[in-house]
Protein backbone atom coordinates (compact mmCIF):
# COMPACT_ATOMS: atom_id res chain seq x y z
CA UNK A 1 0.00 0.00 0.00
CA UNK A 2 2.81 2.35 0.79
CA UNK A 3 3.96 2.20 -2.78
CA UNK A 4 0.75 3.79 -3.96
CA UNK A 5 1.36 6.89 -1.91
CA UNK A 6 4.25 7.91 -4.15
CA UNK A 7 3.44 9.88 -7.27
CA UNK A 8 0.05 10.77 -8.71
CA UNK A 9 -3.24 8.86 -9.04
CA UNK A 10 -3.84 5.58 -10.82
CA UNK A 11 -5.32 7.24 -13.90
CA UNK A 12 -2.23 9.34 -14.43
CA UNK A 13 0.04 6.35 -13.89
CA UNK A 14 -1.81 4.21 -16.44
CA UNK A 15 -1.78 6.93 -19.06
CA UNK A 16 1.87 7.58 -18.37
CA UNK A 17 2.72 3.92 -18.82
CA UNK A 18 1.08 4.05 -22.23
CA UNK A 19 2.53 7.31 -23.47
CA UNK A 20 6.01 7.54 -22.07
CA UNK A 21 7.49 5.04 -24.53
CA UNK A 22 5.86 6.83 -27.43
CA UNK A 23 7.29 10.16 -26.29
CA UNK A 24 10.75 8.65 -26.04
CA UNK A 25 10.43 7.13 -29.51
CA UNK A 26 9.20 10.41 -30.93
CA UNK A 27 12.21 12.15 -29.46
CA UNK A 28 14.58 9.63 -31.03
CA UNK A 29 12.77 10.00 -34.38
CA UNK A 30 13.17 13.78 -34.25
CA UNK A 31 16.88 13.43 -33.50
CA UNK A 32 17.58 10.98 -36.29
CA UNK A 33 15.69 12.96 -38.92
CA UNK A 34 17.12 16.30 -37.87
CA UNK A 35 18.88 16.86 -41.18
CA UNK A 36 15.83 16.01 -43.29
CA UNK A 37 12.86 17.51 -41.51
CA UNK A 38 12.26 20.11 -38.80
CA UNK A 39 13.63 19.27 -35.40
CA UNK A 40 17.14 18.21 -34.63
CA UNK A 41 19.34 17.45 -31.70
CA UNK A 42 18.04 20.10 -29.36
CA UNK A 43 14.33 19.57 -29.77
CA UNK A 44 14.80 15.80 -29.72
CA UNK A 45 17.02 15.95 -26.66
CA UNK A 46 14.53 18.06 -24.78
CA UNK A 47 11.74 15.61 -25.69
CA UNK A 48 13.83 12.69 -24.43
CA UNK A 49 14.45 14.56 -21.19
CA UNK A 50 10.74 15.35 -20.94
CA UNK A 51 9.84 11.68 -21.21
CA UNK A 52 11.97 10.91 -18.17
CA UNK A 53 10.60 13.95 -16.35
CA UNK A 54 7.10 12.71 -17.17
CA UNK A 55 7.98 9.41 -15.52
CA UNK A 56 9.34 11.22 -12.52
CA UNK A 57 6.29 13.42 -12.09
CA UNK A 58 3.84 10.56 -12.38
CA UNK A 59 5.57 7.83 -10.39
CA UNK A 60 7.68 9.81 -7.96
CA UNK A 61 11.40 10.28 -8.12
CA UNK A 62 12.52 6.78 -7.12
CA UNK A 63 11.16 5.04 -10.22
CA UNK A 64 12.68 7.51 -12.63
CA UNK A 65 16.00 7.64 -10.82
CA UNK A 66 16.18 3.85 -10.91
CA UNK A 67 16.02 4.02 -14.70
CA UNK A 68 18.56 6.83 -14.98
CA UNK A 69 20.31 8.04 -11.86
CA UNK A 70 21.57 11.56 -11.43
CA UNK A 71 25.26 10.72 -11.53
CA UNK A 72 24.77 8.64 -14.67
CA UNK A 73 22.96 11.57 -16.25
CA UNK A 74 25.95 13.74 -15.45
CA UNK A 75 28.30 11.19 -17.00
CA UNK A 76 26.16 10.87 -20.13
CA UNK A 77 26.18 14.61 -20.45
CA UNK A 78 29.95 14.84 -20.32
CA UNK A 79 30.20 11.98 -22.81
CA UNK A 80 27.86 13.75 -25.20
CA UNK A 81 29.87 16.95 -24.92
CA UNK A 82 33.15 15.11 -25.50
CA UNK A 83 31.63 13.30 -28.50
CA UNK A 84 30.52 16.56 -30.08
CA UNK A 85 33.89 18.16 -29.48
CA UNK A 86 35.74 15.17 -30.89
CA UNK A 87 33.60 15.20 -34.02
CA UNK A 88 34.60 18.81 -34.43
CA UNK A 89 38.26 18.05 -33.75
CA UNK A 90 38.20 15.13 -36.18
CA UNK A 91 37.75 17.73 -38.87
CA UNK A 92 41.49 18.28 -38.52
CA UNK A 93 42.08 15.10 -40.56
CA UNK A 94 40.73 17.13 -43.45
CA UNK A 95 42.77 20.11 -42.35
CA UNK A 96 40.18 22.30 -40.64
CA UNK A 97 38.36 22.48 -37.32
CA UNK A 98 34.69 21.60 -37.84
CA UNK A 99 35.20 20.29 -41.36
CA UNK A 100 32.40 18.08 -42.60
CA UNK A 101 34.84 15.31 -43.36
CA UNK A 102 32.80 12.50 -44.87
CA UNK A 103 30.30 14.46 -46.81
CA UNK A 104 30.71 12.23 -49.87
CA UNK A 105 28.92 9.24 -48.33
CA UNK A 106 25.17 8.92 -48.84
CA UNK A 107 22.62 10.51 -51.11
CA UNK A 108 20.47 13.52 -50.21
CA UNK A 109 17.00 12.87 -48.76
CA UNK A 110 18.17 9.62 -47.17
CA UNK A 111 18.64 8.91 -43.51
CA UNK A 112 22.35 8.22 -43.89
CA UNK A 113 23.53 11.36 -45.57
CA UNK A 114 24.94 14.79 -44.84
CA UNK A 115 28.23 13.67 -43.30
CA UNK A 116 28.70 14.68 -39.71
CA UNK A 117 25.32 16.38 -39.24
CA UNK A 118 23.37 13.31 -37.97
CA UNK A 119 26.29 12.36 -35.72
CA UNK A 120 26.33 15.84 -34.23
CA UNK A 121 22.59 15.63 -33.70
CA UNK A 122 22.98 12.39 -31.78
CA UNK A 123 25.77 13.82 -29.63
CA UNK A 124 23.78 16.96 -28.89
CA UNK A 125 20.64 15.04 -28.04
CA UNK A 126 22.58 12.83 -25.62
CA UNK A 127 24.03 15.91 -23.98
CA UNK A 128 20.83 17.91 -23.85
CA UNK A 129 18.64 15.06 -22.68
CA UNK A 130 20.97 13.98 -19.92
CA UNK A 131 21.78 17.53 -18.90
CA UNK A 132 18.21 18.71 -18.55
CA UNK A 133 17.28 15.56 -16.70
CA UNK A 134 20.17 16.18 -14.32
CA UNK A 135 18.98 19.75 -13.69
CA UNK A 136 15.47 18.59 -12.99
CA UNK A 137 16.55 15.71 -10.76
CA UNK A 138 18.72 18.04 -8.69
CA UNK A 139 15.93 20.59 -8.28
CA UNK A 140 13.46 17.88 -7.17
CA UNK A 141 15.90 16.13 -4.84
CA UNK A 142 16.78 19.40 -3.19
CA UNK A 143 13.16 20.06 -2.31
CA UNK A 144 12.84 16.70 -0.54
CA UNK A 145 15.65 17.29 1.87
CA UNK A 146 15.19 21.04 1.95
CA UNK A 147 12.01 20.66 3.98
CA UNK A 148 14.02 19.10 6.80
Amino acid sequence: MKNKEVGMTLIVKTITRLTVGLILLYGIYIVLHGHLSPGGGFAGGVIIALSFIHLMLAFGKEVALRKLSESWASIFESLGAIMFLSIAVLGFIGGYFFLNFFIQKGKPFELFSAGIIPLCNIAISLKVGAGLFAIFAVLILFNKSGDK
Binding site: E77, S78, A81, I82, V89, G94, G95, Y96, F97, L99
Partner: protein
Amino acid sequence: MKILPFFVIIPLSAAFLISLLGKKIKNFGDIIANLGTLSLLILSLNSVQLANAHKILVYKMGNWVPPIGICMVLDGLTSFMLVTVNLVSFLVAIYSISYMERYTDKYRFYTLFMLLLAGMNGIIVTGDLFNLFVFLEIASIASYALVAFGTEAEELEASFKYAVMGSVASSFILLAIALLYSYTSTLNMADISLVLSQKGRGMLINLVAILFLAGFGLKAALVPFHAWLPDAHPSAPAPISAMLSGVFIKVLGVYALCRVFFNILGVSSAISFALIILSIISMVVGAFLAIAQQDIKRMFAYSSISQIGYIIFAFGIGSPLAILGGLFHLFNHAVFKSLLFLNSGAIEYSTGTRDLKKLGGLNSQLPVTGYTGLLGSMSISGIPPFGGFWSKLIIIIAAIQAGYFLSAGVAILVSIVTLAYYLKFQSHTFFGKLNETRLKVKEVPLAMSLSMIILAIICVIAGFLLIPIFRPFLQNAVNVLLLGKGYKDAVFGAIR
Protein backbone atom coordinates in the same frame (compact mmCIF):
# COMPACT_ATOMS: atom_id res chain seq x y z
CA MET B 1 47.85 29.87 -37.82
CA LYS B 2 46.68 26.40 -36.92
CA ILE B 3 46.99 27.27 -33.26
CA LEU B 4 43.93 29.50 -33.14
CA PRO B 5 41.17 26.93 -32.56
CA PHE B 6 43.20 25.38 -29.74
CA PHE B 7 42.54 28.40 -27.56
CA VAL B 8 38.99 27.12 -27.35
CA ILE B 9 39.54 23.38 -27.77
CA ILE B 10 42.00 23.01 -24.88
CA PRO B 11 39.90 24.61 -22.12
CA LEU B 12 36.70 22.99 -23.39
CA SER B 13 38.13 19.50 -23.48
CA ALA B 14 39.74 20.08 -20.09
CA ALA B 15 36.35 21.12 -18.69
CA PHE B 16 34.58 18.09 -20.14
CA LEU B 17 37.26 15.69 -18.95
CA ILE B 18 37.32 17.14 -15.44
CA SER B 19 33.56 16.87 -15.11
CA LEU B 20 33.70 13.26 -16.35
CA LEU B 21 36.62 11.96 -14.29
CA GLY B 22 37.21 14.58 -11.61
CA LYS B 23 35.09 12.85 -9.00
CA LYS B 24 36.72 9.46 -9.47
CA ILE B 25 40.39 10.36 -9.61
CA LYS B 26 41.91 12.40 -6.84
CA ASN B 27 43.76 15.57 -7.91
CA PHE B 28 42.71 15.00 -11.53
CA GLY B 29 41.20 18.49 -11.65
CA ASP B 30 44.37 20.13 -10.30
CA ILE B 31 46.59 18.40 -12.85
CA ILE B 32 44.42 18.91 -15.92
CA ALA B 33 43.57 22.52 -15.11
CA ASN B 34 47.18 23.47 -14.52
CA LEU B 35 48.44 21.64 -17.59
CA GLY B 36 45.68 23.21 -19.67
CA THR B 37 46.37 26.75 -18.54
CA LEU B 38 50.12 26.25 -18.90
CA SER B 39 49.75 25.06 -22.50
CA LEU B 40 47.42 27.98 -23.20
CA LEU B 41 50.00 30.39 -21.83
CA ILE B 42 52.70 28.91 -24.07
CA LEU B 43 50.40 29.04 -27.09
CA SER B 44 49.50 32.64 -26.39
CA LEU B 45 53.17 33.64 -26.14
CA ASN B 46 53.64 31.91 -29.46
CA SER B 47 50.74 33.88 -30.89
CA VAL B 48 52.57 37.13 -30.09
CA GLN B 49 55.35 36.12 -32.43
CA LEU B 50 52.88 35.12 -35.12
CA ALA B 51 50.99 38.38 -34.82
CA ASN B 52 54.25 40.29 -35.01
CA ALA B 53 55.36 38.42 -38.11
CA HIS B 54 52.12 38.33 -40.08
CA LYS B 55 50.17 41.35 -38.73
CA ILE B 56 46.87 39.56 -39.28
CA LEU B 57 45.91 35.92 -39.67
CA VAL B 58 42.46 34.51 -40.40
CA TYR B 59 41.46 30.96 -39.60
CA LYS B 60 38.53 29.70 -41.64
CA MET B 61 36.33 27.39 -39.60
CA GLY B 62 35.47 24.26 -41.57
CA ASN B 63 37.10 25.77 -44.66
CA TRP B 64 34.16 28.11 -45.32
CA VAL B 65 35.13 31.51 -46.63
CA PRO B 66 34.20 34.10 -43.95
CA PRO B 67 30.92 35.73 -44.82
CA ILE B 68 29.56 32.18 -45.15
CA GLY B 69 31.30 30.48 -42.28
CA ILE B 70 32.75 31.65 -39.00
CA CYS B 71 36.33 32.81 -38.90
CA MET B 72 38.86 33.41 -36.17
CA VAL B 73 41.15 36.41 -36.39
CA LEU B 74 44.60 36.72 -34.89
CA ASP B 75 45.97 40.24 -34.81
CA GLY B 76 47.98 42.35 -32.40
CA LEU B 77 45.08 43.14 -30.09
CA THR B 78 44.04 39.47 -29.98
CA SER B 79 47.48 38.26 -29.03
CA PHE B 80 47.83 41.02 -26.43
CA MET B 81 44.56 40.05 -24.76
CA LEU B 82 45.34 36.36 -25.01
CA VAL B 83 48.63 36.82 -23.17
CA THR B 84 46.95 38.90 -20.45
CA VAL B 85 44.11 36.45 -19.90
CA ASN B 86 46.14 33.28 -20.02
CA LEU B 87 48.94 34.64 -17.84
CA VAL B 88 46.53 35.59 -15.07
CA SER B 89 44.50 32.39 -15.41
CA PHE B 90 47.62 30.21 -15.22
CA LEU B 91 48.75 31.85 -11.99
CA VAL B 92 45.24 31.73 -10.57
CA ALA B 93 45.03 28.02 -11.39
CA ILE B 94 48.23 27.40 -9.41
CA TYR B 95 46.83 29.42 -6.53
CA SER B 96 43.56 27.47 -6.53
CA ILE B 97 45.31 24.16 -5.81
CA SER B 98 45.66 25.07 -2.16
CA TYR B 99 43.01 27.71 -1.74
CA MET B 100 40.08 25.69 -3.04
CA GLU B 101 40.73 22.94 -0.48
CA ARG B 102 38.44 24.97 1.76
CA TYR B 103 35.46 24.32 -0.50
CA THR B 104 33.62 21.10 -1.30
CA ASP B 105 33.49 19.58 -4.80
CA LYS B 106 36.71 21.06 -6.07
CA TYR B 107 36.40 19.41 -9.49
CA ARG B 108 33.19 21.34 -10.19
CA PHE B 109 35.11 24.51 -9.49
CA TYR B 110 37.75 23.54 -12.04
CA THR B 111 35.10 22.63 -14.62
CA LEU B 112 33.47 26.04 -14.30
CA PHE B 113 36.85 27.74 -14.23
CA MET B 114 37.91 26.14 -17.51
CA LEU B 115 34.54 27.02 -19.05
CA LEU B 116 35.04 30.63 -17.96
CA LEU B 117 38.45 30.58 -19.59
CA ALA B 118 37.07 28.98 -22.76
CA GLY B 119 34.45 31.68 -22.97
CA MET B 120 36.97 34.48 -22.62
CA ASN B 121 39.40 32.98 -25.12
CA GLY B 122 36.52 32.40 -27.52
CA ILE B 123 35.48 36.05 -27.30
CA ILE B 124 39.00 37.20 -27.98
CA VAL B 125 39.78 35.05 -31.01
CA THR B 126 36.45 35.21 -32.80
CA GLY B 127 35.79 37.28 -35.88
CA ASP B 128 32.05 36.83 -35.94
CA LEU B 129 29.59 38.99 -34.04
CA PHE B 130 27.07 36.34 -33.06
CA ASN B 131 29.84 33.97 -32.10
CA LEU B 132 31.14 36.68 -29.80
CA PHE B 133 27.74 36.77 -28.14
CA VAL B 134 27.65 32.98 -27.70
CA PHE B 135 31.04 32.88 -25.99
CA LEU B 136 30.12 35.95 -23.94
CA GLU B 137 27.20 33.96 -22.60
CA ILE B 138 29.40 30.96 -21.78
CA ALA B 139 31.74 33.16 -19.77
CA SER B 140 28.86 35.01 -18.10
CA ILE B 141 26.92 31.89 -17.07
CA ALA B 142 30.08 30.29 -15.71
CA SER B 143 30.78 33.43 -13.70
CA TYR B 144 27.23 33.58 -12.27
CA ALA B 145 27.67 30.06 -10.99
CA LEU B 146 31.18 30.70 -9.69
CA VAL B 147 30.10 33.76 -7.70
CA ALA B 148 27.60 31.55 -5.86
CA PHE B 149 30.13 28.75 -5.41
CA GLY B 150 30.28 29.07 -1.61
CA THR B 151 26.45 28.77 -1.43
CA GLU B 152 26.20 31.07 1.59
CA ALA B 153 23.26 33.46 1.77
CA GLU B 154 25.19 36.57 0.76
CA GLU B 155 26.89 34.81 -2.11
CA LEU B 156 23.61 33.55 -3.52
CA GLU B 157 22.12 37.01 -3.25
CA ALA B 158 25.06 38.65 -4.97
CA SER B 159 25.01 35.99 -7.66
CA PHE B 160 21.31 36.51 -8.32
CA LYS B 161 21.71 40.24 -8.61
CA TYR B 162 24.69 39.79 -10.90
CA ALA B 163 22.90 37.20 -13.03
CA VAL B 164 19.89 39.45 -13.55
CA MET B 165 22.03 42.45 -14.50
CA GLY B 166 24.21 40.29 -16.72
CA SER B 167 21.22 38.78 -18.51
CA VAL B 168 19.75 42.22 -19.18
CA ALA B 169 23.12 43.29 -20.59
CA SER B 170 23.24 40.20 -22.79
CA SER B 171 19.76 40.87 -24.09
CA PHE B 172 20.74 44.43 -25.02
CA ILE B 173 23.71 43.06 -26.92
CA LEU B 174 21.58 40.46 -28.65
CA LEU B 175 18.99 43.07 -29.65
CA ALA B 176 21.75 45.22 -31.08
CA ILE B 177 23.06 42.24 -33.05
CA ALA B 178 19.54 41.56 -34.37
CA LEU B 179 19.16 45.16 -35.53
CA LEU B 180 22.57 45.09 -37.12
CA TYR B 181 21.80 41.80 -38.85
CA SER B 182 18.59 43.07 -40.35
CA TYR B 183 20.35 46.20 -41.58
CA THR B 184 23.39 44.48 -43.09
CA SER B 185 22.24 40.87 -43.48
CA THR B 186 25.58 39.47 -42.44
CA LEU B 187 27.27 38.55 -39.17
CA ASN B 188 30.97 38.60 -39.92
CA MET B 189 32.58 41.61 -38.26
CA ALA B 190 34.63 42.63 -41.26
CA ASP B 191 31.68 42.12 -43.58
CA ILE B 192 29.39 44.22 -41.37
CA SER B 193 31.96 46.96 -41.44
CA LEU B 194 32.10 46.73 -45.24
CA VAL B 195 28.32 46.94 -45.64
CA LEU B 196 28.10 49.82 -43.18
CA SER B 197 30.69 51.80 -45.08
CA GLN B 198 28.60 51.36 -48.23
CA LYS B 199 25.23 52.16 -46.66
CA GLY B 200 26.25 55.01 -44.40
CA ARG B 201 25.15 55.73 -40.84
CA GLY B 202 21.70 56.74 -39.73
CA MET B 203 19.51 56.73 -36.67
CA LEU B 204 19.63 52.95 -36.62
CA ILE B 205 23.37 52.85 -36.08
CA ASN B 206 22.97 55.32 -33.22
CA LEU B 207 20.42 53.02 -31.60
CA VAL B 208 22.73 50.06 -32.10
CA ALA B 209 25.61 52.04 -30.59
CA ILE B 210 23.54 52.96 -27.54
CA LEU B 211 22.48 49.35 -27.04
CA PHE B 212 26.06 48.12 -27.35
CA LEU B 213 27.27 50.83 -24.98
CA ALA B 214 24.64 49.88 -22.39
CA GLY B 215 25.31 46.16 -22.80
CA PHE B 216 29.08 46.22 -22.69
CA GLY B 217 29.00 49.03 -20.15
CA LEU B 218 27.00 46.78 -17.84
CA LYS B 219 29.52 44.00 -18.35
CA ALA B 220 32.41 46.40 -17.70
CA ALA B 221 30.66 48.02 -14.68
CA LEU B 222 30.88 51.62 -15.81
CA VAL B 223 29.25 53.80 -13.20
CA PRO B 224 25.55 54.06 -13.87
CA PHE B 225 25.64 50.30 -14.44
CA HIS B 226 28.03 49.31 -11.67
CA ALA B 227 25.69 48.20 -8.88
CA TRP B 228 26.36 44.47 -9.27
CA LEU B 229 30.16 44.54 -9.14
CA PRO B 230 30.83 45.46 -5.48
CA ASP B 231 28.59 42.57 -4.42
CA ALA B 232 29.56 39.97 -6.97
CA HIS B 233 33.33 40.25 -6.98
CA PRO B 234 33.88 40.03 -3.21
CA SER B 235 31.41 37.15 -2.87
CA ALA B 236 33.27 34.84 -5.22
CA PRO B 237 36.13 32.66 -3.97
CA ALA B 238 39.39 34.66 -4.06
CA PRO B 239 40.84 33.07 -7.24
CA ILE B 240 37.60 33.85 -9.05
CA SER B 241 37.55 37.40 -7.70
CA ALA B 242 41.01 37.75 -9.18
CA MET B 243 39.83 36.38 -12.52
CA LEU B 244 36.65 38.48 -12.56
CA SER B 245 38.24 41.76 -11.56
CA GLY B 246 41.52 41.06 -13.28
CA VAL B 247 40.51 39.92 -16.73
CA PHE B 248 36.80 39.12 -16.99
CA ILE B 249 35.44 42.67 -17.01
CA LYS B 250 38.20 43.68 -19.39
CA VAL B 251 37.51 40.97 -21.93
CA LEU B 252 33.70 41.15 -21.80
CA GLY B 253 33.54 44.87 -21.32
CA VAL B 254 36.57 46.72 -22.58
CA TYR B 255 37.83 44.40 -25.32
CA ALA B 256 34.39 43.77 -26.80
CA LEU B 257 33.56 47.48 -26.59
CA CYS B 258 36.77 48.44 -28.37
CA ARG B 259 36.41 45.79 -31.04
CA VAL B 260 32.83 46.75 -31.80
CA PHE B 261 33.28 50.50 -31.71
CA PHE B 262 36.74 50.91 -33.19
CA ASN B 263 36.71 48.18 -35.81
CA ILE B 264 33.06 47.73 -36.76
CA LEU B 265 30.85 50.73 -36.09
CA GLY B 266 33.54 53.39 -36.06
CA VAL B 267 33.98 55.91 -33.27
CA SER B 268 31.97 59.07 -33.74
CA SER B 269 32.62 62.15 -31.63
CA ALA B 270 29.37 61.59 -29.69
CA ILE B 271 30.49 58.10 -28.73
CA SER B 272 33.89 59.21 -27.52
CA PHE B 273 32.27 62.04 -25.59
CA ALA B 274 29.92 59.56 -23.92
CA LEU B 275 32.84 57.26 -23.12
CA ILE B 276 34.81 60.10 -21.52
CA ILE B 277 31.87 61.28 -19.40
CA LEU B 278 31.04 57.77 -18.20
CA SER B 279 34.67 56.98 -17.46
CA ILE B 280 35.28 60.18 -15.47
CA ILE B 281 32.21 59.48 -13.34
CA SER B 282 33.40 55.88 -12.87
CA MET B 283 36.85 57.00 -11.74
CA VAL B 284 35.56 59.49 -9.18
CA VAL B 285 32.66 57.47 -7.79
CA GLY B 286 34.67 54.24 -7.61
CA ALA B 287 37.58 55.90 -5.81
CA PHE B 288 35.51 57.78 -3.24
CA LEU B 289 33.33 54.79 -2.44
CA ALA B 290 36.45 52.65 -2.04
CA ILE B 291 37.76 54.84 0.78
CA ALA B 292 34.70 54.22 2.90
CA GLN B 293 34.90 50.42 2.78
CA GLN B 294 35.93 48.26 5.73
CA ASP B 295 35.89 44.97 3.84
CA ILE B 296 39.15 44.41 1.96
CA LYS B 297 37.58 42.74 -1.06
CA ARG B 298 34.83 45.33 -1.36
CA MET B 299 37.47 48.05 -1.35
CA PHE B 300 39.31 46.30 -4.17
CA ALA B 301 36.07 45.86 -6.09
CA TYR B 302 35.31 49.60 -5.96
CA SER B 303 38.91 50.23 -6.91
CA SER B 304 38.33 48.08 -10.02
CA ILE B 305 35.47 50.35 -11.06
CA SER B 306 37.75 53.34 -10.68
CA GLN B 307 40.60 51.77 -12.67
CA ILE B 308 38.27 50.60 -15.45
CA GLY B 309 37.35 54.26 -15.66
CA TYR B 310 41.00 55.09 -16.46
CA ILE B 311 41.11 52.49 -19.23
CA ILE B 312 37.85 53.59 -20.87
CA PHE B 313 38.93 57.22 -20.50
CA ALA B 314 42.03 56.46 -22.55
CA PHE B 315 39.97 54.84 -25.29
CA GLY B 316 37.59 57.77 -25.23
CA ILE B 317 40.44 60.17 -25.98
CA GLY B 318 41.43 57.94 -28.88
CA SER B 319 44.82 59.38 -29.79
CA PRO B 320 47.62 56.84 -30.43
CA LEU B 321 49.39 57.71 -27.18
CA ALA B 322 46.15 57.42 -25.19
CA ILE B 323 45.34 54.01 -26.65
CA LEU B 324 48.86 52.86 -25.82
CA GLY B 325 48.36 54.05 -22.26
CA GLY B 326 44.93 52.44 -22.04
CA LEU B 327 46.10 49.05 -23.21
CA PHE B 328 49.17 49.23 -20.99
CA HIS B 329 47.01 50.13 -18.02
CA LEU B 330 44.71 47.24 -18.90
CA PHE B 331 47.66 44.84 -18.70
CA ASN B 332 48.97 46.39 -15.49
CA HIS B 333 45.59 46.40 -13.86
CA ALA B 334 45.06 42.75 -14.76
CA VAL B 335 48.32 41.90 -13.03
CA PHE B 336 48.13 43.99 -9.87
CA LYS B 337 44.42 43.68 -9.25
CA SER B 338 44.58 39.89 -9.47
CA LEU B 339 47.64 40.03 -7.18
CA LEU B 340 45.73 42.11 -4.64
CA PHE B 341 42.70 39.84 -4.71
CA LEU B 342 44.96 36.83 -4.26
CA ASN B 343 46.51 38.65 -1.28
CA SER B 344 43.11 39.24 0.23
CA GLY B 345 42.38 35.55 -0.28
CA ALA B 346 45.62 34.67 1.50
CA ILE B 347 44.71 36.94 4.41
CA GLU B 348 41.28 35.36 4.65
CA TYR B 349 42.82 31.89 4.37
CA SER B 350 45.15 32.52 7.30
CA THR B 351 43.10 34.68 9.62
CA GLY B 352 39.53 33.92 8.62
CA THR B 353 38.41 37.52 8.26
CA ARG B 354 38.63 40.32 5.74
CA ASP B 355 37.46 43.14 7.97
CA LEU B 356 40.05 45.90 8.10
CA LYS B 357 39.20 46.76 11.71
CA LYS B 358 40.03 43.28 12.96
CA LEU B 359 43.37 42.99 11.18
CA GLY B 360 46.78 44.56 11.77
CA GLY B 361 50.47 43.78 12.10
CA LEU B 362 50.34 40.79 9.82
CA ASN B 363 53.64 41.66 8.17
CA SER B 364 55.62 39.59 10.65
CA GLN B 365 53.32 36.59 10.37
CA LEU B 366 52.66 36.64 6.63
CA PRO B 367 55.85 38.03 5.06
CA VAL B 368 55.19 36.84 1.48
CA THR B 369 51.64 38.15 1.44
CA GLY B 370 52.75 41.37 3.09
CA TYR B 371 55.55 42.25 0.71
CA THR B 372 53.76 41.20 -2.47
CA GLY B 373 50.74 43.16 -1.28
CA LEU B 374 52.95 46.17 -0.72
CA LEU B 375 54.32 45.92 -4.27
CA GLY B 376 50.82 45.56 -5.69
CA SER B 377 49.50 48.53 -3.75
CA MET B 378 52.43 50.70 -4.78
CA SER B 379 51.93 49.76 -8.39
CA ILE B 380 48.20 50.46 -8.43
CA SER B 381 48.54 53.80 -6.70
CA GLY B 382 51.06 54.96 -9.28
CA ILE B 383 54.38 55.12 -7.48
CA PRO B 384 57.39 55.09 -9.80
CA PRO B 385 59.04 52.95 -11.14
CA PHE B 386 56.25 50.37 -11.15
CA GLY B 387 54.13 49.60 -14.19
CA GLY B 388 51.06 51.38 -12.86
CA PHE B 389 52.94 54.68 -12.70
CA TRP B 390 53.95 54.61 -16.36
CA SER B 391 50.54 53.69 -17.67
CA LYS B 392 48.77 56.39 -15.65
CA LEU B 393 51.43 58.90 -16.68
CA ILE B 394 50.92 58.08 -20.35
CA ILE B 395 47.15 58.42 -20.06
CA ILE B 396 47.42 61.78 -18.29
CA ILE B 397 49.97 63.11 -20.79
CA ALA B 398 47.73 62.01 -23.64
CA ALA B 399 44.75 63.74 -22.05
CA ILE B 400 46.71 66.97 -21.75
CA GLN B 401 47.92 66.69 -25.35
CA ALA B 402 44.36 66.21 -26.56
CA GLY B 403 43.21 69.24 -24.59
CA TYR B 404 41.19 67.56 -21.86
CA PHE B 405 42.81 69.59 -19.07
CA LEU B 406 39.96 69.27 -16.58
CA SER B 407 39.70 65.51 -17.07
CA ALA B 408 43.45 65.16 -16.69
CA GLY B 409 43.22 67.07 -13.41
CA VAL B 410 40.48 64.72 -12.22
CA ALA B 411 42.60 61.74 -13.21
CA ILE B 412 45.53 63.05 -11.14
CA LEU B 413 43.25 63.73 -8.19
CA VAL B 414 41.76 60.22 -8.36
CA SER B 415 45.26 58.81 -8.47
CA ILE B 416 46.01 60.56 -5.15
CA VAL B 417 42.77 59.22 -3.65
CA THR B 418 43.81 55.76 -4.82
CA LEU B 419 47.10 56.16 -2.98
CA ALA B 420 45.14 57.15 0.12
CA TYR B 421 42.96 54.08 0.28
CA TYR B 422 45.77 51.70 -0.48
CA LEU B 423 47.72 53.33 2.35
CA LYS B 424 44.71 52.65 4.54
CA PHE B 425 44.69 49.02 3.40
CA GLN B 426 48.40 48.62 4.11
CA SER B 427 48.38 50.32 7.50
CA HIS B 428 45.31 48.46 8.74
CA THR B 429 46.42 45.06 7.54
CA PHE B 430 50.15 44.59 7.52
CA PHE B 431 51.44 47.35 9.82
CA GLY B 432 50.41 48.42 13.30
CA LYS B 433 49.82 46.22 16.32
CA LEU B 434 49.31 42.50 15.92
CA ASN B 435 46.21 41.07 17.49
CA GLU B 436 47.19 38.74 20.36
CA THR B 437 45.08 35.90 19.02
CA ARG B 438 46.93 35.86 15.71
CA LEU B 439 50.39 34.94 16.98
CA LYS B 440 50.01 31.44 15.64
CA VAL B 441 48.97 32.54 12.15
CA LYS B 442 51.18 30.85 9.57
CA GLU B 443 52.19 31.77 6.03
CA VAL B 444 50.00 30.35 3.28
CA PRO B 445 51.00 27.14 1.40
CA LEU B 446 53.68 27.13 -1.28
CA ALA B 447 51.36 27.12 -4.33
CA MET B 448 49.61 30.25 -3.15
CA SER B 449 52.81 32.11 -2.30
CA LEU B 450 54.41 31.09 -5.57
CA SER B 451 51.70 32.60 -7.75
CA MET B 452 51.66 35.77 -5.65
CA ILE B 453 55.44 36.13 -5.96
CA ILE B 454 55.36 35.68 -9.73
CA LEU B 455 52.61 38.28 -10.07
CA ALA B 456 54.57 40.71 -7.87
CA ILE B 457 57.67 40.25 -10.05
CA ILE B 458 55.61 40.98 -13.16
CA CYS B 459 54.25 44.07 -11.40
CA VAL B 460 57.78 45.37 -10.86
CA ILE B 461 59.10 44.68 -14.33
CA ALA B 462 55.95 45.65 -16.25
CA GLY B 463 57.51 49.01 -17.05
CA PHE B 464 59.99 47.24 -19.33
CA LEU B 465 57.18 46.56 -21.79
CA LEU B 466 57.75 50.12 -22.98
CA ILE B 467 61.39 49.62 -23.99
CA PRO B 468 61.95 49.00 -27.71
CA ILE B 469 62.58 45.24 -27.58
CA PHE B 470 59.20 44.47 -26.00
CA ARG B 471 57.43 47.42 -27.54
CA PRO B 472 55.85 45.52 -30.49
CA PHE B 473 53.74 43.55 -28.02
CA LEU B 474 51.83 46.70 -27.13
CA GLN B 475 52.35 48.59 -30.35
CA ASN B 476 50.75 45.90 -32.54
CA ALA B 477 47.65 46.02 -30.39
CA VAL B 478 47.54 49.80 -30.62
CA ASN B 479 47.90 49.61 -34.39
CA VAL B 480 44.86 47.37 -34.69
CA LEU B 481 42.68 49.90 -32.88
CA LEU B 482 44.18 52.79 -34.83
CA LEU B 483 43.41 50.92 -38.01
CA GLY B 484 39.77 51.65 -37.27
CA LYS B 485 37.61 50.72 -40.18
CA GLY B 486 40.65 49.59 -42.13
CA TYR B 487 40.18 46.37 -40.15
CA LYS B 488 37.87 45.01 -42.83
CA ASP B 489 40.43 45.47 -45.58
CA ALA B 490 43.04 43.76 -43.44
CA VAL B 491 40.77 40.78 -42.79
CA PHE B 492 39.65 40.43 -46.39
CA GLY B 493 43.25 40.84 -47.49
CA ALA B 494 44.29 38.00 -45.24
CA ILE B 495 41.62 35.68 -46.62
CA ARG B 496 42.82 35.96 -50.17
